[in-house]
Symmetry: C2
Subunit: 250 residues, 2 copies
């Protein structure tokens, strides 16, 4: 298996590339519109052809690169079936492995940041990797104050789907804002300042409800745009017009 | 061996943590002043105690975290012996492995970005990793227009010290500005747009001399500050006074 972690600096988003060398099947998890060209250049350099995009959830802070990637490469777009998005080709759900050649990816239904959020677990004989989306972040977790988020649901998701995994499971999140790239289940169970060290549900709800975060700058057009798999909506702000004109041409 | 790659977002600098689990010896390669607290928190969470800092060169775009780290942890500061910096504890040079418990790191004298630049090669039976500093970057290389830089020297360094390594050597650079984290010797030999694909020395010199890059914003105080292992000089700009006051207290 080939694996690459990539970063989009404006939204601090991690995109993950997985490829099955035997079959040539190649996947990007959570690609970003702004970095589509970089991603395609990388795949070309590595002699790979994109076959699939897989989304963890409908993002509110950036536009997905899914649609632009499909337009260029004819790849399939996959994401949670619960999202019920006509623009996607494949709906995934817990209990039904997503197969990428010889790689098996297990979707984990993990609501709380959004109501349909899924994480993806890659487990083989050597190691276990969790693509945790915006559910579990490094020493943090996804916010729960919009898109039908719920601290109760997120607490349950993290405890029942993540904290039961082996301590040495490597966790690759969708974001980090402090330049960290990955963590482990063991570390987050003991050290995560919001939900680790045996925090109770009541403590967690209190922490999440006190965050008082500003809304993401792009939320007004990122959510409807991502419900179209990354098509810029008409009301996009002037400063983003370049990206959108590229996208509309793409 | 434990390994972590870390990122400082303002200067797009990668810091690398290596630790020998048997001996507890723990190293940071090219730490940044702004992220000292994050680095120490990470080590604490992992149950590690910093024993060494290792510099690839005297940086011009950011201040090293070396001195602040030593003040807090009593670690040793290492870097190229040629730099001849009284603030450092250990001078390294090619041909003399730097030993970190059971980990052997081979310094490679690789001038061109600066005249004393060293890269560090970690090779064991399983894999080969190169910490290439600012000599070789992903699809790029370090600039050669100050600090006694020289495109001729850099061409020679990359060809004679890096391109002779196995193609699957993973290259971890000191910077990337496009959200890529690592590359391989094979990929850079074939694809690097400045020096790959059999570019001649003459072509490389022409490319490097045409870059016309602005000077790094911090160069005036970063270079003298890093010659003191990361002590903020007196003439630091107002907007950085917070960092320096923290450093002076530290």
């Amino acid at each position: 298996m080939l694996f690459k972690q990539l970063f989009e600096l404006e939204s601090s988003t991690y995109t993950y590339m997985l490829a099955c060398e035997e079959s040539g099947k190649t996947l990007l998890i959570d690609p970003v519109l702004e970095t589509v060209d970089r991603d395609l250049q990388l795949l070309q350099e590595m002699g790979l052809k994109l076959t699939h995009v897989l989304e963890t959830h409908i993002h509110a802070d950036h536009l997905t690169g899914a649609l632009k990637l499909r337009t260029i490469t004819d790849c399939k777009i996959a994401g949670p079936a619960l999202d019920n998005l006509p623009c996607r080709d494949i709906g995934v759900q817990e209990g039904e492995p997503f197969i990428l050649g010889s790689i098996q990816i297990n979707p984990l239904f993990t609501p709380g940041h959004t109501d349909h959020h899924h994480a993806y677990l890659l487990a083989n004989n050597i190691e276990s990797r969790l693509f945790s989306g915006d559910a579990l972040l490094i020493d943090s977790c996804g916010r729960t104050d919009f898109q039908h988020g719920s601290p109760e649901d997120l607490y349950k998701s993290i405890h029942e789907k993540f904290f039961i995994l082996p301590d040495d499971t490597i966790v690759f999140p969708c974001h980090d804002y402090a330049g960290k790239f990955s963590t482990t289940i063991g570390l987050e169970k003991s050290e995560n300042s919001r939900i680790g060290n045996n925090r109770t549900l009541r403590e967690f709800i209190s922490i999440m409800n006190s965050l008082d975060l500003p809304f993401p700058k792009k939320i007004d057009y990122a959510v409807p745009g991502n419900e179209l798999c990354g098509k810029c909506p008409d009301n996009i702000p002037e400063e983003k017009s370049k990206i959108c004109s590229e996208d509309k041409q793409g």
